[in-house]
Structure formats: C-alpha cells, structure tokens
Assembly symmetry: C2
Homo-oligomer: 512 residues x 2
C-alpha cells in the first residue's frame, strides 16, 4: 500500500491495518536506530518548509482486533517502499530544536526532527525509572540498579545512545516528601539517607558530530508510579534566594518542597553530603572545562517531580552563570520536561525568561500533575486577578512553551485509563510519536513500539495482548548460587563523589 | 560448634545462629546434590534403628534478625565438621519408603530418608506450578512454558533430577471448575479447551540404580494460587463406576467435580480429545512395556486439587490392574500427596486400602483444603454416626496415612500467614524439611533453601528480606527483537498425543 503524502484523509480501512504507518519523512536518528545520510537544508528552510504529513489513519476503534505484530510488518514494508525527502541534519538545526526561537513554527504542525529529539530526551528521562531499584525488599532499594561506568545504557537496551554517564545524582530523603523516596527494609542498607535521583551524561565524539555540538544532558528521576507526592507538597512558595541561590529578586519564589529536594543535604552521608544542587553545578562546570574549544549545549530533562528538578536546575545554571564561558558566550540551556507540575510564581517565570532558559513542556491534557500545585491561582487566570494574587504564596505559574497532547487521540489506548496511566512517561512518548499538530490525526511517526506504554501501567487496549506492567526483573533479582541458594547478589560499590568536589565548590563560591 | 546427637534440647542461642543446622545423618541424595557413599543397612534396621536427631534449636522469635545468608555458611561449616553415620541406601529400603508397611515407624520420629524422598517428589509436584503459564495476557496461557523433550527439568533448575518427562497431561477446561482453569485472552490461542495439568516422567538408568528400581512418576498440577475452586466443588459424591472406571461396587463414590476433571474430554480438541484418565492409563502401560525385565515402581504426586487427581489416578491404576505384570506380580503404586482435599466416601477409602494403593498425605494443620469437602460429615466423626451417614452424599473420608505439619512450628514463617500461605506447596516442603516428629523441635534437615517459601506467597518473616512472590519471568516473557520491538516469542509446537493411543486404548478395553 502506498502512503498518502497529501493532507487528504484516506478512508479508514481497519482490515488493511492502515492504523500503523511509519513516517520517515523527517525522521532523525533515534536511539537504537542507524543514522542515515541526510540532505543539507538550512534552518530557515526547516522552520518554513511545508509539512506533508501522511494522513493514513486513525480513528479509535474497539471492534477490530489488529495486533502489534502486524504493525511490525507494516512498518518494515513501508520502509522499503517510501523514498520521502529526509530531514535537514541536526548540525544545521540544533539551536532551533534546542529552543533558540522558542519553537515558533515547530509545534503546529509538529516538526518531525523536534519530535524525534523530544523522544530521544524523553527516553533518557525514562531511563531513570527503568534503572531505579524501588523494591523495598532489595538491599539496594533507592539506588540505581546498574553501574554508571560499565553498563547503565547497555543494560537499558540503549547501548547506541551515544552518551556516557559522567555522574550519578543523589538527594537526601530526609525531607518532607515521604512518597517520593523509596526506603529499603534491610537493616544494613547501602544508604539510609540517600536516593538515586538521576544522572549527568555527555555525548561522545561520534554522537556529537551528528548532534552538531557536545551535548551535556541532565536527567532527573520522578516518582515511580503513585501520585501521592502531590498531596505531600506544602503548597508553599519560598523565595529562591533563601537557599543561597543567587537570585537578586526576593519575590522570585518556588514551591518549598522542590527547593528542599534540590538544596538539602546530609553531612554524614557519603551520597548526599552534597546537595543535588552542588552535584549538578560542580559536574556541569567540570564538563564545560573538559571541552574548552567545542560548541556545547546543556539539555535537561525529567518527568513528573523530575520535571520540577529539571526546571530548578536549569534556572540555577543560568542564574549562577556557570554556562557563561570566558569570552562571555553563553552555552544554550534548554529544559525538555514531561508532565511537570508548576514550580514557582509568576516572578520565577519572568526571571527564567529573562535569563534565556528555554523550556518546552510536554503534557497530557488529562494528567492532573501539570495542574498542581495551584489549582486556584495560576497563569490561566485573568491577568488582573493574577496580578492581585501575585503576592500570595499559592499563585503558581507554568514556565515556557507547552506542547499539549491528548491521550484520547491515540487509538491504542483505553479511553478510561486512570490518573496514573494519564501521567505515565511512556504514554507521553507514545502520544508524542503520534502527534502531528492540533486537529491532525494520530499517526505513529517513528515506529516506536506502542508496547512500551504498558511497561509500567495498564493503558493499552486489552486486545493488543500486551501484559500490563510487564517490565520486571527475573525473580525480582534473586539468583541461584552454585550451592543452590537463592540470594540477592551483591552489586558493585556505588560511586561516591569525585575528589575535586570541595575545590570546585569553592571555585563556584559554594564552599563552606 | 558441635551438633548435639542426643535428644536433649540445647539451650536456644540465637546469636550463635544455631537456628539452621544441616542434618546429614540420614540424608538421601536430593535433586541437585551429589550422592555420597552409603553404608549397607538392611531395611529391618531402617525400621527399628534409633533416631538420633540433632536438637539444635528452635523457637520462634521475632527479635533476632538472623539472615538466610548466615544459614548458608553454617550449613557448609556443619558439613565439614560432622561425620554422622549415613542413611542406608534406597536400593535396600525403597519399598519401605514407598509405603509397603504403611510407613509404620517412619513418621514419628520422622525418618530422614523418607523425608528427603518426600521432598524430592514434592519438588516434582512443585515443578507443575513453576512451569505453568498462567498469565491471561500470554497466548500460551494454560500451557506448560517449557518443552517436554528439551528443557522441562533444565529450565526449572532441576537438570540433575535423573528423570525424563515422557508425556505431558492435559485436561479439558469445559467442566464445572471455573477457578481451576486458566484461559488466555488471545483470540487465537494454543487451545480454547485444554489446560496443561501435569506430566509423566521416568527415572533414567543412572538414577534408577540409586533408587533401586525404575520409577514412573505422575505429577499433577493443582490450582495456581487462589482457593476459590473449593467453593466450586459441588459437594456431590458420584459412583466412581458411573464413569466407566471398573469398580465392582456402586457405593464407592467420589466427588463429582474431581471425577469430571479426570474423565472428561473434548472430541475436537487436539490436546484433550483423550481424558486425563486415558492419557495416564495408556502412558503407564506403555512405560511398563518398555522396561519388561526391570523392577518398577509407580509414584504419584500432586498438591491441592492435584492431590485429588493423584489419588484418583492411583486408585484407577490399581483398580484397572494395569500395574499387574504377566507373572501376576504387582508393581507397587504409591501416592505422596500434599495438602489434598477429601476425594471420596468411606467405601472409596476402603476400596483403596483393599487394592493395596499406598497413600501418604502431607498436610499443614492450618490449611483449610484438607478439611474440604465434607466439613460436617467426615472420618473424624464417631464411627457409629459415620456409619449412619455413609449413604449421604456428603460423607467424605480421607484415605491413607497422614503426616500433619504445623506452620506455627517454623521460626522462619509469619504466624499470621493467610489461608493461601497455609496452603502453599513450597511452605509444606519447608515444614517437612524441618519436621522430626511430634513435639520435636523444628530443625532444617537438608539445607533446602527457606527462601523458596516466598516464591509464590508472602509467608517468610520480613526480616529475612526475601521478596514476597519473587518467582517471575523477566518482562513477563516479552523479549526485544532485533528491530527493537517487544513481543511474546513463539514457542515450539506443543506435543499432542502419541500415535499409539487408539491401539493402547483398545488394548485396555477403553476403545470407543
């Protein structure tokens, strides 16, 4: 079957399984896919080119038991048959994709290269969940299951990511967010105070060539599944400068719990004796020093509560100015966030904009988290009322550009998915993959497997026969030793912090 | 530390971790263990020898967080230090162990060789659970996960079992036990009518030498976890002869549902076009023919509802007389059952005894299943009342010799385990391993791993840090294909029935 390249909708023929169509038209190299030769178009062309998105499909239906296995075949067929023009290379267009022009003209219709880059960073945020040990019966509960140096991306099936993890991030669990942290029941645990909360990675030489710059990524973990942490938020805005972040304006405020998570530490803990903030600032400055003569970018990603940390840390980097080089050039900093809550007040939003931090927020309109905190006073109020409410501690505002998805548009998903489904990161990546703009039909662009949606939830329609919550370790990590006993194997010692921490903290004016 | 070889209880010293002690005194080769040279004692000696069971330990305690890892070390230490006399070889004693003398003198105190044999057969029953695919999202739901020929015992970590599976058993799910069968949600499923329900295996040459005979094992699967099937029982006793089982006495009756399960078939189904009964009788007679000049035994095992099938099929074999050889010698038939319900009435019990079928029932006194069906009228009533109730359809009676265990005696287990825990087969094997007789302390005899208890339930005390329900497949069996898609791999075609079935059925007088 040929692909329609016009905007005319084809009649829906479920029996021909037109539901799944790969659109390689503007596809960028995705993790795990080989890069293909790409024609050279400049970024003006990128912003103004006509979008000829195939309109094959799609309409939710429950009556046709199409299977995901058929999709596989169709995608392959399609690959062989179509010869659409390729996307311009990232080397030409990455600044635009990275938000230099606030994604104007790239979101509706949806730019294919931006979409695939969002998927790529989204998968780096997803990696934080997939690698996190949240089993309270594990003696490593609260840590990362894989070692940073040897096997982080490999064990996650992302060996071709083109990034090396340069540092693991830890936060102290001694703060007022009991439903965020996971604690082991073991008496002798790897740490009683710390939780693994994300990582910093940097693109390798080969990937940097494709990306057009050396990319430093910070990925923050969110909450594992449940949404109770929203209820834990104190709904209390605190001046960001109260925690030694050098903001000149004391009316710039953020949610107190997020600020605690970002700045708190525990002196006698090997892992969280430095705050997440200190870990991030020292690591980013170290990496910038490592690549003195290269073009660099800083890309921060996170889902859910991790999205709040992404915004806070992005803001912090531009506020402290550690992204500004000796010659006053600023390394662009961008946040790609997924289903994130509001973080601060309107002044915080204005401050972020003034400092040039770019924020693209991917949300699902049925997800309650982006509506938290600040159900009553938020940026959607009439401006006059908002102005009046500005001094109140509960006047929250979102920051940046929103990309609103709607899970009811995907024919793969149950329409009655619960709140946890609507908030799921894999579901967002699936929705993104099928998104081509407001009012456009849902067409999967990358061939990314919809089965991934059910890794940690029960959201795919039952007739696809993908087991709900299917991602699980064999025997919960128990292995049988040579003498027949079932035990939890010991893991390699977790990295603590580099020796240069204290020196770097002093350099950054953060020394004690 | 030395092991006490007297009956004097040692004071309880939890800090010295005396809790776990390997008793190799009468140990028989267990699956996965090497056989050791054994002294030659005749079976009179076996029955009358003095039992010098070590009394190290044990008293339930919650206060001492001893770990299972320590157990491992202790067991090894113990192995090196102790030089107790070994058990007589099975070649001398297997008839006794197999119930020839109704286990008189072997149960209290508990004979070590019988215990280890019970564990071995119990593990063969447990294999039915571990190999069963009960995920309704699997297209093979209701089947055995592993192939019969290549990898059944290997995949279960029982490569050294010394048995070859000669046949898989299927039953039709079209009977009145809805909570026993598992049905896939796939539209195109391996079978809409059949469920895998057990297997027949036969000892190989090497193992047969150790066992003293060629052993034919029939292992029946029970219900996976829940106990609803008890409620499904119609509590209705039907004459066993009504289903063409050649019982001369029409007052011999068994529970109608069990009889259905054993005798029903579905003509147009490749897997259950023969009843479980027909499969068993033809297979056993085929195997007997295969080894004409050898000493043979038939050992039947099962847990829960599988225990009912074990008893029924054992009875059937001796009633039809397929175990009787040309020279009128009868191959001994024995049932080792675990947490089985009552199966028939007093007449059934008497008939079983008359026919020489030996039955040893291992139960946990806190398990409700052995009290079903027949809560009101059963064998524990005064004999006169029982006699009066005999004609009533609900006057059930247990058969054979009972070995009653008590989960409150194990210091490893939570005392408040629920009904499903109390019924769990792995829990029974653990209790058996620690059982030395009525009033004797609980001492693990074989070094069998207590962690196995939590494979499919939440019964071990939390401080052992063994995850509850830990036995699970990686990613619920989903695997990532070369092109990055997650799918359920196809499995090799399941064995149907051998070509000789019809001929054999005619030979047995069962042909249509």
């Amino acid at each position: 079957m040929a692909i329609s390249s016009s905007n005319t909708a084809l009649p829906f023929k479920p029996h021909q399984q037109q539901l799944f169509r790969s659109n390689n038209q503007f596809s960028a190299p995705l993790i795990g896919q080989k890069t293909k030769p790409i024609t050279s178009l400049d970024r003006q062309k990128l912003a103004t080119r006509s979008h000829t998105i195939p309109r094959v499909l799609s309409k939710p239906t429950d009556s046709v038991p199409f299977s995901l296995a058929d999709f596989q075949t169709e995608a392959k067929d399609n690959e062989q048959k179509t010869h659409e023009p390729k996307s311009p290379p990232l080397t030409d267009t990455w600044r635009e994709i990275h938000g230099e022009s606030d994604w104007v003209g790239l979101l509706d219709p949806m730019d294919a290269l931006l979409r695939s880059e969002l998927l790529r960073y989204g998968e780096m945020a997803q990696a934080c969940y997939d690698a996190f040990d949240f089993d309270p019966f594990s003696k490593y509960c609260g840590s990362c299951k894989y070692t940073r140096r040897q096997d982080f991306f490999t064990r996650l099936g992302m060996a071709d990511s083109g990034y090396d993890v340069s540092r693991y991030l830890y936060a102290t669990s001694n703060i007022n967010l009991p439903n965020f942290f996971k604690k082991s029941r073991w008496p002798k645990v790897w740490s009683t105070n710390a939780n693994w909360i994300g990582y910093v990675a940097v693109s390798n030489d080969e990937r940097s060539k494709v990306l057009g710059r050396r990319d430093i990524v910070i990925a923050w973990r969110g909450t594992v599944t449940r949404l109770e942490w929203i209820a834990d938020l104190m709904d209390y805005l605190r001046p960001i400068s109260s925690d030694k972040i050098p903001c000149p304006d004391p009316t710039v405020k953020v949610e107190s719990g997020f600020l605690d998570l970002y700045t708190d530490k525990k002196e006698n803990c090997n892992f969280c004796k430095y705050s997440a903030r200190e870990q991030i600032l020292t690591e980013v400055s170290r990496l910038i020093e490592m690549y003195p003569n290269e073009e660099l970018s800083i890309t921060i990603t996170g889902h859910s509560l991790g999205s709040a940390l992404a915004l806070l840390s992005g803001y912090d980097i531009v506020e402290t100015g550690i992204n500004v080089l000796g010659d006053s050039r600023a390394i662009p900093v961008c946040v790609f966030s997924f289903s994130g809550p509001r973080v601060g007040n309107v002044r915080f939003k204005e401050r972020v904009e003034r400092l040039g931090l770019k924020v693209l927020r991917v949300v699902n309109v049925h997800d309650i988290v982006p509506r938290s905190p600040g159900f009553i006073f938020n940026e959607s109020m009439p401006q006059m009322l908002m102005k009046a409410a500005e001094g109140l501690p509960w006047s929250y505002s979102h920051v940046g550009v929103e990309l609103a998805l709607d899970h009811k548009n995907s024919p793969f998903l149950k329409s009655d998915g619960d709140l946890v489904c609507a908030h799921n990161l894999e579901a967002h990546l699936h929705l993104l993959d099928g998104y081509h703009g407001k009012g456009h039909r849902f067409v999967l662009a990358s061939g990314r497997d919809p089965a991934l949606v059910n890794k940690g939830c029960d959201f795919l329609k039952d007739h696809y026969m993908v087991p709900p919550h299917w991602r699980q370790d064999e025997n919960k990590g128990m292995v049988r030793s040579a003498d027949g006993r079932w035990t939890q194997p010991d893991r390699p010692k977790l990295d603590e912090h580099p020796n240069c921490m204290l020196r770097r903290l002093r350099q950054l004016g953060l020394g004690q």
